[in-house]
Symmetry: C2
Subunit: 485 residues, 2 copies
């Protein structure tokens, strides 16, 4: 494609999205919810076609992919329920008050959330359903009332097109405006969409180099736009002395299961396990049965994993603790490396790093105070896990320190497996994400794609429904400061 | 100051803020609210000292400054009430559910908001109390649980120091941790604070060049941080044909009062008034009595206003409609320029621009369809105003178009005067702000300075109070998806 072709194509694509978006934004919420439900139904009905395609292109096992599709359509339905309820609007009604104590009368002022406008979603490689064409970003942007352009991931091109066809047909059949959803596959086209003045937000799940580049493009536009990028996370696990003593076997089994699930290609994979040097955990970990090698998503990811593992293993003070074997091309055997907490603190940048694939680093500490030192030294994380007994002295300070670094803290559970629910927080300070106050999983994911608007002194009929004196359907609101559920 | 002195000073300043911030973050909300109330009380008690200082440095009239101080301390008290209530935490509790329909059991998951960490606030020149040292940014960051470093505005240095002294003494007397609040005046120091790795957000009210530069610094740090900048707004007013016919005199009086209040040095000043060409509004506006010249905040602002007014007046198709006179140095006479909607649409970038000071542009239109055309053509705004009758055909489409461009829409009211209340939205798409989903006025201003964290499977005693099965004080929560006020 020449650059001119791209520009003309992109202008048309975005113009269609803008036009569809206006219709979609004024579509009543219950109606938007019905359309989301229809998309979910169509995807479920296409499982027999989509799952084998996904299997062929990603080499992930069938049960995992079927489960992921179930999760993806559940997500659409949960967001539909949230849109119908309307609590995400954070609707507020302040009646005029001549005696408002700020020193000036208060006018009638009412505030709700409106859709941001066209959103560009970059699909991820490792969840071909849940973080791809019809994944959480697409679902929450559509739910919020925004049109969506998806950049397909080159790792599963046929599945992307097939999924987009299902979504497009379902939207059309349900009566959604044409142009509400589009798929592009060319990276140059995606970049042109990201810099188009009518595009109002970007969402991304992937690596630091790619994500930071796109985030920088978004923030250096003439009109900067929000960019919700999920980039990288090590997801450390802190095992206290007493937990190591009480539950060694359970910890080994849980950890090995968690760092190897999906062949370690999961953004919440526990990449670092901190254990007391004098427990028998090290011995058990060195003898733990590791799963068979599994084929990684694609050659680029396999090459990246191999390179990062080699770099880690080559650092002074790092040795191999356990390795399945032998490595095959694109199917590396799971491996555990090990080092000490002293080394980790000194070389935190090179040692505390994501190795996307079936590799993790076991770090031995002398003293639980080192756990706090490491919690202070690390960058932002999606998750941080504490494996401990409630009476352990260190846990209160450790949980407090980790809440400053991570979006989700776990207690005696493993971070892989991210529940889609109201209280989920899948985000965290940079480099976990580029927007630490947001989540890409759970019902709050919708909040990324709205902004508030206040109406002052408006006639009731010109107000959005949820701000009228009597809305057509009940909706949670804060009225004159008082929250009504 | 040498660069080394700055670095050492900044490291100490930020370290103190970090340390105080940790204590402050774990201070119970009711206690934080008590401290905010004490600061408000101290500022009120210092009015006799602060207001004359403000008057000397800003040349704003005494009643305006007294009123602004009242508004400022009210804001602290309102935020204190919000912090005590806890609704801003958006607390969510999901109990474990083995039958959760996503296809996997749901763990116990609980989510609340935690403070971002140290915030750098750049004070504004035009509201020496409400948007300065103890203004909305400082108040909402402290309320959220964050330590604050304020960059004083060079326009009112003595008032800044005096205000900071009152705040610091009140915080100390109320038992807040030392280092929670600091004032810096050197621009190089402020820039060093903005790039310090332990500083987690910036807030700013000022001009496009200054604000965009700082926003770009914040987003290009190794760890990008949110930057809440309020930069520029024209605040257009759209007068329909029927309103012009029915209420010409009221419109003229209201508009002149609004564009000249505070000598036009207000971010919500109506800078463009759109009127039908065939109404007698033009004649009335040309004869309207304009207020006496008032001295602007400082020489830089007076020079900027003079330059922008001259540039506007020099555009083809722009003429002078009305001017008080004569201009004195630093005290320009209010003036109205005029042009046509055809010109405006053609030259929207040069004509639709903020002229900070007592100047506004009256734009005549032939046809109400031009109002929609202009609404589409303009950039992001803090406010947009419709002066109309509810039965006017254009208003529904106009309000919808303007909701895409502005943070607050007004109906037959004037945009100056920004009420501090629950439903306020003082923000908008770029260049109105750099963060269109946020507000710097009203109770939602606190949301800028928190981020969500989820706790999975935690023992009750290790959870933040608002997430425990039975919190020590009632707090609004969403429990298993159900909102409880």
């Amino acid at each position: 494609m020449t650059e001119t072709t791209i520009t003309v194509g992109v202008d048309r694509l975005v113009a269609d999205a803008v036009s569809a978006g206006r219709t979609w934004a004024r579509t009543p919420r219950a109606e938007r919810a019905r359309v989301l439900g229809a998309v979910a139904e169509a995807l479920d009905a296409a499982a027999d076609r989509l799952v084998p395609l996904a299997q062929r292109e990603t080499h992930l096992p069938e049960p995992r992919l079927s489960g992921e599709l179930t999760r993806t359509t559940f997500q659409l339905r949960l967001l539909a329920a949230i849109v119908t309820e309307g609590g995400y609007l954070d609707a507020r009604v302040d009646h005029a008050d001549p005696n408002w104590p700020m020193g000036a009368p208060r006018p009638d002022l009412r505030r709700t959330a409106v859709p941001l406008g066209p959103v560009l979603v970059f699909a991820a490689s490792n969840f071909p359903f849940a973080f791809s064409v019809a994944g959480g970003d697409t679902a929450s942007a559509l739910a919020a009332g925004c049109p969506v352009v998806v950049k397909a991931h080159e790792g599963h091109p046929q599945l992307s097109v097939a999924t987009a066809e299902v979504v497009t047909a379902a939207l059309a059949a349900a009566g959604a405006p044409a142009g509400l959803f589009a798929l592009v596959s060319d990276p140059g086209t995606a970049r042109a969409v990201l810099t188009h003045p009518d595009v109002k937000a970007g969402a991304f799940t992937g690596s630091i180099p790619g994500g930071r580049t796109l985030s920088d493009i978004a923030s250096s536009r003439p009109e900067p736009i929000p960019f919700f990028g999920e980039l990288s996370s090590v997801n450390p696990v802190f095992v206290t002395r007493s937990a190591a003593a009480a539950r060694a076997e359970e910890i080994v089994t849980g950890f090995v299961g968690s760092f190897t699930v999906g062949a370690g290609q999961i953004c919440t994979k526990p990449g670092v396990l901190l254990v007391p040097e004098d427990s028998d955990l090290m011995d058990r970990l060195s003898r733990a049965p590791l799963p068979e090698p599994a084929r990684l998503l694609n050659e680029r990811i396999a090459a990246g994993h191999g390179r990062t593992r080699e770099e880690l293993a080559g650092q002074p003070g790092v040795t191999v603790l356990a390795a399945g074997g032998p490595d095959q091309a694109d199917s590396p055997a799971p491996a555990l490396l090990t080092t000490t907490a002293d080394h980790l603190v000194k070389e935190v940048e090179s040692l505390f790093t994501e190795c996307f694939g079936p590799t993790a680093l076991v770090v031995t500490y002398r003293d639980e105070a080192q756990l706090l030192e490491i919690a202070e030294a690390i960058d932002g994380q999606l998750t941080a896990t504490i494996v401990a007994e409630p009476t352990d002295e260190v846990v209160s300070a450790l949980a407090e320190a980790l809440a400053r670094k991570a979006g989700r803290l776990l207690w005696n559970q493993w971070p892989t497996g991210v529940s889609v629910t109201y209280a989920q927080q899948h985000g965290g300070p940079y480099p976990a994400t580029t927007a630490p106050a947001t989540t890409s999983v759970g019902t709050a994911a919708i909040d990324r794609f709205t902004r508030p608007v206040a109406w002052q002194g408006f006639p009731d009929l010109l107000l959005p429904d949820e701000l009228r004196e009597v809305p057509s359907a009940p909706v949670p609101r804060r009225v004159d400061g008082q929250l009504h559920a």
